[in-house]
Structure formats: C-alpha cells, structure tokens
C-alpha cells in the first residue's frame, strides 16, 4: 500500500494547483477590474459632491451677483466648468419680484461639469433665477 501510493500525492497536489490556478485567473482579473471601477466610482462620487457644492453656491450667488460666475480649478487636476444658457421659457417675467424683494429677470440653465484628471467627467444641470446683471 505504502509503496503503491508513493508519488501520487505530488501528482494530486500538482493537479490541484493547476485547477486552482485556472480557477483563479478570472477571479484575479475580476478583482483588478473592480479596483479600477471602484476608484472611478470614487472619483465620480467626489465629482458629484463638488458639482453639488458648486451648484448650491451658484444658486445662492445668482441671486445677487450674476456677473462673476466663473469656471475654476477646484484642486490639482480637478477642473470645474460652468456654462450658462439663458432660458426663454414661457414665463420670463417683467420686473417680477420674489418674496425677498429681489428682482427676477430671467431663468438660466446652468451646467456644471467636473473633470478629474482629464478622464472622468461628471455633469450636473439645473435652472436658476438669474437676478439683475
């Protein structure tokens, strides 16, 4: 019995290693992909936060100081681009005044685009009341 089984274990182990290796190749590939994907998502989540902060800031600012709304660099490699498009919806008011007594002249569509390291771009759109200016 002992004589017959000598060397068999080694073959068995070799076979096992081969099978495991074959099984691991897609798993490792999957992990590599996922890491990349997750870091991309992380960038997008950060871009989302930056875009949300920017648009909140713009919403406030558009009520007082429309003229000075510019694109800016948030951090190294993160560029925030702000675009406007005057909207002539069915409702552009004539000297309308809101509850705080501010003039509301026109609506503007606002497009905030956040670029991180030049590859992932995240866009957020809304409409704000453009005041004065």
């Amino acid at each position: 019995m002992n004589k017959q089984s000598s060397g068999f274990s080694l073959i068995e182990v070799m076979a096992a290693i081969v099978i495991l290796t074959i099984a691991f190749i897609p798993i490792i590939a999957y992990f590599t992909n996922t890491i990349g994907f997750v870091s991309q998502r992380e960038d997008l989540a950060e871009a989302n936060n930056i875009a949300v902060n920017t648009i909140e800031f713009l919403k406030k600012k558009s009520e007082t100081d429309w003229d000075n709304l510019n694109s800016y660099t948030y951090d190294n490699g993160i560029i925030v681009t702000i675009d406007y498009l005057d909207k002539n919806l069915n409702s552009v008011s004539n000297g309308a005044v809101d509850a705080e007594g501010n003039r509301i002249d026109v609506l503007a569509e606002i497009n905030v685009s956040v670029d991180i390291d030049g590859d992932s771009s995240y866009q957020l759109n809304s409409i704000v009341n453009k005041v004065g200016g």
């Binding site: 099984a23 949300v52 509850a99």
Partner: protein
Amino acid sequence: MYLFRKNESGFALVMVFLTIVVLGILVGAFINSSIFNIRFTSHQENRSKAYYAAQAGINHLKTSIFNEDVQTFINELPVEENLLNSDKSIKYKIELLEDNPNNKKFSSKGLIVVDNKVRTTVSLFQEFTKSGASFIAITEDNSAYIIDENTDWANFNLEPVLNSGDFKGNIYAASWDSNNKVLVLSGDQNGGNNNIFMKNLDGEWIEEHFNGGGINHIYDMTFNQDNGKFYSVNHNGKIHEAYFDGQNWITNATGKKAKNFKDNVNSIIGDNKFVFLESDSFTNKIYTYDIDENSLSSSNLSYMDNIMDVAYGEQDGEQMFVAVGYEDNSGVIYTSENGDYWNEVYGEVDAWELNSVTWTGNNFIAVGDSGQVVVYDFENGWSEPDREHLTRSYNNVEGFEQFVIASSPDPISSEYGGTIMVSKDGGTNWTKYDGADYRDIPKFKNIKKIDNSNEWLKSNWGFSN
C-alpha cells in the same frame, strides 16, 4: 477513523474543490457587495441629477408664480422641459396639485430617462401662499400695530410696532410707501412742529422734524405710487409733496392752497388726482388737486352735508370717487367720475350717518353710526347688509379684496377696549368684537392698508411621492 486511514487517496483533490467552493462563496459575496456599491454610487449620481432637475422646475415656477399672469402659466401646465446633458436624458415636469385662490401647490419631478424608460425620479413639492391683507393701525394713545387677516381679535395679544409714548406728541395718520416698502406716520409734537416717522418693516423708526416751512399740522397724507411722492395738506390749506430720497425727506410746496381750511381732512389719490375735504359748519367743499397739471379745483356741496371721507376705485375701465358723510341723522353719499364734478346719490340707500369709506379692489364699503354698512360695486350698485348685531358707531374702514375691517375708537368707558368688526366676504357678513367683551383690543383711530398685501410667497416645500 478506520475509513479515513484506508482511503487517503484523492484527499488533496477534495481539499482543492472545498477551497474552490469556499473561495467561490467569498468571491460571490464580494462581487455582490461591489455591484451594490457601484449601483449605489450610480443611483446617488442619478438622484443628484434628478434632484437638481426637480429644483430647476421649482426655480422655473418661482419666476412664474410671482408674475402677474399666474393663471396663464397654470393653464400651460404640465410643463415638461429637457435639461442639456451629454449622456442621459434629464427632464423636469411640473404639475399643479392644489389650486386655491390664496394657495397653490405644485410638484416638480426630476426624471432620468434612459432608453425611454424612467430610471430615477425625485419629486419635490412647493407651495406658494398669497400673503393676506395687512394693515397699519394707529391708536388713540399714539401707538401703532400691524394687523392682518389672521389677527386673533378674541385673544388680542399683538405687540405694537410703535409704543405709546415713544414719541412726544400726536400721530394722526399712517401711510405706506409701496415703492420703498416703508411705513410712514405723520403727527405733530405737542401741537407744534410736524413730525414724520418712518420705518421699514423690520427696521428702526426714524424720526424727522420739520420746523415751519408749512409742513405742520398734517392730519393726513397719502402716497402716489406713480411719482413716489406723498401728498398732504396742512392746517392752512397748503398742499405739499414730500418724498424720501433714501437719506432725507425732501418737501416741496406746490404753491396751491385751499381756502378756509379746517381740521377735517381726508385724502386719497386716484387717477393722479389728490382729493381732500374741507368741512365745517359754514363751508363744505371737496378740493381736487391734479398732480400732473399742478392745478386745484373745488366743488361746493350742500352746506347741510358734512362730508367725512372719500375713496377712489377703478375696475374694468370704470372709475369712481365716492365721498360719504351725514346730514342731521342720515347718511349722505356723493360720487364723481373724475373727481371734479360731484353728484349726490339719492334714494339708493337709507343709511345712518356715514363716517368712512374705502375701496377694497372689488367694491366700495362705507361704515357709520349704529353699525351702518353700505356697499357699492360697479355691477350691482348700492346695497345695505344687515347691521342689527353691529350696533356701535364705526369711524374708520379699510379693506383689501374680501377682507374688510372697521374700527370704533370711542370707548364705552375708559376701562373698555376699542371695538372692531371684520368681514371676510367683501362686506356682506360681519363679525363684531365689542370692546366691552374683548377689552384688549386697542382703540384704533386710523387704519391704512399696506399695499404689499397679496404677494405670492414661497411657503412649504419638501420631497413628495
């Protein structure tokens, strides 16, 4: 044990398969969690986009609702607008949920549409409420209150905006600069110089004294929105205009003067004409000052009549001036189309003495002794609502649309409060709060509406289904 020792062969393979199964489960769990993470961030991203699309709808509403032509806007609902976006179709959709005259509720839905399927929806709702009529009211003891439609008269506990005794002297009239949104009170200091007090709604009172220059003893002043100036007549009958230039009060004498001017003055602005009354036991005149022409004309009324108040109203191209007063124990009404020629109204109503008249935007309402109320509107003419339970004598009436308030400053005795009556249906039905029962009600001698009433204000908002 014996079995294991005998059958060792294949054990490594079994171990390998076991390892693969265990690893497989672990990897499966990991895949699951990372898929969840990816879905979550992508959902967050879509929700942010949908949220700001919904906000875009709210902002769209915001400009429209403050517009005069709210109705047109509502007629064009639902509005579906696309927002620019490179990778997804983002829309917002506005719907009218509740449509009441003084309250409108909208929903704004932000939608992410992929392949014609709505993937993410964020719903916001926004309510707009019309501010009710509000008024500045001056009391016998020279304090001032801001009152409105919702004032609880039965448990009156408002703080005055000006306390009695804060100014040494009398306050005669309240007025409202609707261009600068400033309250203005006029009075005099111990019978001497005239004062003007002013205050924006949340600021401090500023006191201005005029020494001579004809700006003294102003019993009433009125604001002309067209040129942003106040007009007043002093006790010598001289007409002045006054305005606040942001730092100082500027006053100009117009050079026009009424004769025999007495204390009894009431003034209105209508059609760029400033109408005021002169009345004592010998003369009885209505003066009309034309602001554009800087000219003064007067009409003699029957000397028996005592005219107490005038009002101006216009609706659908029709306009009218109404003056009310009394002769012996009965009410007297004069009307004029242009403020220059006045005709007495006979036989339409049988009223007690009338003391005050106002234009609410829909109708004229006059009040007087013994709870007398007289209503005129351009469509139905003159009418007299039931007055039996109103009893007291009312000296002042002011109204805005459906809400009307009349005051009776004369106390039954010093320990009683003033009486007021209010109508919430344009003068037909009234509720009386008698100073005998509700002793905390101040004794109002002059009530003026604040013209910023009726603005649409944003009230509640939030997420909806």
